[in-house]
């Protein structure tokens, strides 16, 4: 019964949105359409970003840090299809699926340049998305990255939003965009926001460095198993099951793995730190990822020990060691390479290697606190 009601509600919503929103999304089986609008996933007009019917927003318990950018994530399934649940890996979505991630910021110093965007950005909160619509006042859209499931596999296609904020243009070679970050305490930091090139998309999304097949990263049970931000009162996984987007879920969906929200102080420090390291690191630092060359494996299933960084000597870190002896020195964050690599913004030293030019100070504080509370040292 509950499922029926939800479906009905969605139908009503979709019907209402149809007046102003673009029509149905368009799946392109090949090529790289020159503009984002060719996909009909979303439209920015009259100060509102409107998602097309069937373009469903979702979010993650703990997200990847990307220079404090806010992210609107959507998944669009071909009509009548659903994704198949997996316990550990990304859900199996059918050919024809489009995943989008739109990066945007609250602007700062509005009006300084006669209304033109100055590159000044602030640190979020994310605006509310209701009925597939997000108000754009005080926001600057930067880029939308698509992951498109074609017959030959997933393909990554990056689009950069135009100055008018009306559409985004294909930008396969990436870009650097000068910005100034305004931290909550008033500090201002100039940085280069780096939009990755298409190969660099694979740098994270080719999670198996042997097959090099691109796959979604965030669409895993442990990231999605949380209260829905977009359908109040529902667990996000339950909601997807109810709306037919997801099948094959074990009987006891409550037992599905779930990462902590890294900001949730009611969760254990260990759960928060591991959730953070999982989503920021484990797509490369796994047993088969591009960083399996390092011997450091930050998947949640790995026990705390040398492979999770405990007293582990760096292998090919170069300057990334920061002059410190081990990845994690229990009890001593200032002697731990983890903290250096998270703090530094030197391209050759920092982690992750791509996707940030600023320091996630709050993330560093979490991991430092986690290390500080450990007992031991390195013998």
């Amino acid at each position: 019964m509950r499922r029926l009601l939800v479906a009905f509600a969605l139908f009503i919503l979709a019907a209402c949105a149809r007046e102003t929103a673009p029509t149905a999304p368009v799946f392109h089986e090949e090529g790289y359409p020159a503009s984002l609008s060719a996909w009909n996933l979303m439209a920015a007009a009259n100060g509102v970003l409107t998602l097309s019917p069937g373009v469903d927003p979702y979010d993650l318990a703990t997200p990847l840090f990307t220079d404090y950018a806010l992210k609107l994530r959507t998944v669009t399934l071909p009509g009548g299809t659903s994704g198949v649940y997996r316990d550990k890996d990304a859900f199996d979505f059918p050919v024809g699926t489009i995943i989008s991630k739109t990066f945007y910021y609250p602007t700062a110093n509005d009006g300084d340049a006669g209304g033109a965007w100055t590159g000044d950005v602030a640190i979020g909160p994310a605006p509310t998305v209701e009925g597939g619509a997000m108000p754009l006042q005080g926001l600057r859209l930067i880029e939308t990255r698509l992951l498109v499931h074609r017959v030959e596999g997933w393909v990554a296609i990056p689009y950069r939003w135009n100055d008018e904020q009306t559409d985004a243009a294909l930008h396969r070679t990436g870009a650097t965009i000068p910005m100034t970050l305004h931290r909550p305490d008033g500090r201002e930091e100039a940085f280069a926001y780096v939009m990755p090139n298409q190969n660099q998309c694979a740098g994270c999304h080719a999670t198996n460095n042997t097959t090099r097949k691109i796959s979604p990263i965030g669409l895993k049970a442990r990231h999605l198993n949380k209260p829905s931000t977009f359908a109040a009162g529902f667990n996000q996984l339950d909601y997807w099951i109810m709306t037919g987007k997801l099948t094959g879920v074990p009987e006891d969906a409550q037992a599905a793995p779930g990462n902590a929200d890294w900001t949730d102080e009611s969760a254990s420090l260990d759960a928060r730190a591991r959730a953070y390291l999982d989503v920021n690191c484990s797509h490369c630092h796994s047993d088969v990822g591009p960083a399996d060359t390092s011997g450091l494996d930050l998947r949640p299933s790995v026990a705390f020990g040398p492979h999770y960084g405990a007293c582990k000597t760096p292998v090919a870190a170069g300057g990334g060691s920061g002059g410190r002896p081990f990845d994690i020195v229990p009890g001593d964050p200032d002697a731990s390479i983890f903290i250096y690599r998270m703090q530094t913004t030197k391209p050759g030293d920092m982690m992750p290697e791509l996707g940030r030019s600023t320091t996630h100070e709050e993330g560093v504080a979490l991991i430092a606190e986690w290390i500080r509370t450990m007992e031991g040292g390195c013998g």
């Binding site: 650097t176 000597t313 990334g320 002059g323």
Partner: protein, 413 residues
């Protein structure tokens, strides 16, 4: 005391005295507009493509990457086609290749912020006549590796030049079936390093003015250990540069003045080389246990003992006169007098207690040095360096020689 304890620190005076001839005119104009062109070519490459990069000096602010099998990248010469990453703001290497059947030749990669050229997993890799360099005086801030194939199979590195890396100029990691020949490595912390790799032939290279010339290492916690490396017909001469590696990295423990260093690797053959004038020791054979690494940080299955090491027929001399580190200095003076020298071969003395049979190391696992004119010292690291002693006669033995490496698919023929 650990044998790798390093008093370290390079003499700024000595460094300032030796200016380096630039490989190209410093005033050559740098073209930044080529970045989009080359990035697009790399994105659009198809198997079988040759990407020709013309003569010129091209500047990049982000790293380059190639993810398509079967591509050749070709410049006009290592002093003519120069990819400069001096202005790089993003990316952990100059060029990252995640592909097989890859050839790169005749160009230079300069001043990358991280590694110069990294090939992460692939088969049939040829890197030849490529120069990776950090310009100016070598310094700690330089990138880690110049030429860096890792988890690769069937690999040929030849006639390359690697300068100024703060880790290794030429580094082959976790790979299999490798030939490294005719290369020149200078002014790096490690000149040439073979790590956790099976079946490598390293020959006719020149390693000079590095902290350590040629290294054959196994490190813990990695996807595979390594074994069966032959180092022959090389010149590992005067590798006396002060160690400018990043503290915390394994190479930062290499004493300045190390010619050829074997650490924890097995079945390593060192023969017919010129290994001279390396001021700590011409050859060092060591275990991870004397390298200052944390025992807590090693996976339990790691075998940190160098076994089946065979050193013979090398031309050695002029080494060991001014070892790096107070401990080795003290050892030298105590054992050989102020005018003396550490013998050509220094062995830390570790043997795996679990493998001893009737109080002796099984024949195939021995450290054998049978090198005319060379003396061996066992520094007795397992007993806290209490009784360093000459071991020339006790380690005089022979091992079965390793076969030559033959690369598959005609590489190197």
């Amino acid at each position: 005391m650990t044998i790798y304890l390093r008093a370290a620190i390079l003499s700024a005076l000595a460094l300032a005295g030796c200016g380096r001839k630039q490989a190209q005119a410093p005033a050559a104009p740098t073209d930044a507009s080529y970045q989009e062109t080359l990035m697009t070519k790399l994105l659009d490459a198809k198997p079988g493509d040759v990407i020709d990069i013309p003569e010129g000096r091209f500047s990049f602010d982000r790293s380059l990457s190639l993810a398509v099998d079967g591509v050749t990248i070709r410049g006009a010469g290592m002093d003519k086609t120069i990819l400069s990453f001096k202005d790089q703001i993003a990316g952990a290497e100059g060029l990252l290749v995640t592909a097989s059947d890859f050839t790169i030749e005749d160009l230079a990669i300069e001043d990358a912020k991280g590694d110069g050229l990294k090939v992460n997993e692939g088969e049939n890799i040829i890197i030849r006549r490529v120069r990776t360099e950090w310009t100016g005086e070598p310094k700690t801030e330089n990138g880690a590796y110049g030429i860096y194939p890792v988890q690769t199979k069937n690999v040929l590195l030849e006639s390359n030049v690697a300068i100024g890396a703060s880790d290794a100029g030429i580094y082959v990691g976790q790979s299999q079936n490798v030939i490294v020949r005719y290369n020149r490595a200078e002014k790096n912390v490690a000149g040439i390093e073979i790590e956790n790799t099976f079946d490598a032939d390293v020959y006719e290279n020149v390693a000079t003015d590095n902290t350590g010339g040629i290294l054959v290492f196994n490190m813990p916690n990695l996807s595979q250990p390594g074994a069966r490396t032959r180092v022959f017909n090389n010149q590992a001469v005067a590798n006396n540069r002060g160690n400018f590696g990043h503290p915390g990295t394994p190479v930062a423990t290499i004493p300045a003045g190390s010619g050829v260093v074997i650490n924890s690797n097995d079945q390593v053959e060192i023969f017919d080389n010129d290994i001279k004038d390396n001021k700590t020791a011409n050859v060092i054979i060591a275990s991870v246990f004397s390298s200052g690494l944390s025992q807590d940080g090693m996976s339990d299955d790691f075998d940190g003992y160098p076994e089946g090491i065979y050193v013979y027929g090398n031309r050695m001399g002029g080494g060991g006169k001014n070892p790096d580190g107070l401990d080795l200095q003290a050892l030298k003076i105590a054992k050989f007098g102020p005018m003396g020298a550490i013998p050509d071969v220094l062995w830390d003395g570790y043997v795996d207690p679990a493998k001893q049979a009737d109080g002796a190391t099984p024949a195939a696992l021995r450290v054998c040095v049978d090198n005319e004119g060379a003396e061996v010292i066992n520094v007795d690291a397992p007993n806290g360096f209490k009784n360093p002693d000459m071991a020339t006669e006790t380690v005089r033995c022979a091992l079965e020689k390793l076969p030559a490496i033959k690369l598959a698919n005609g590489l190197g023929e």
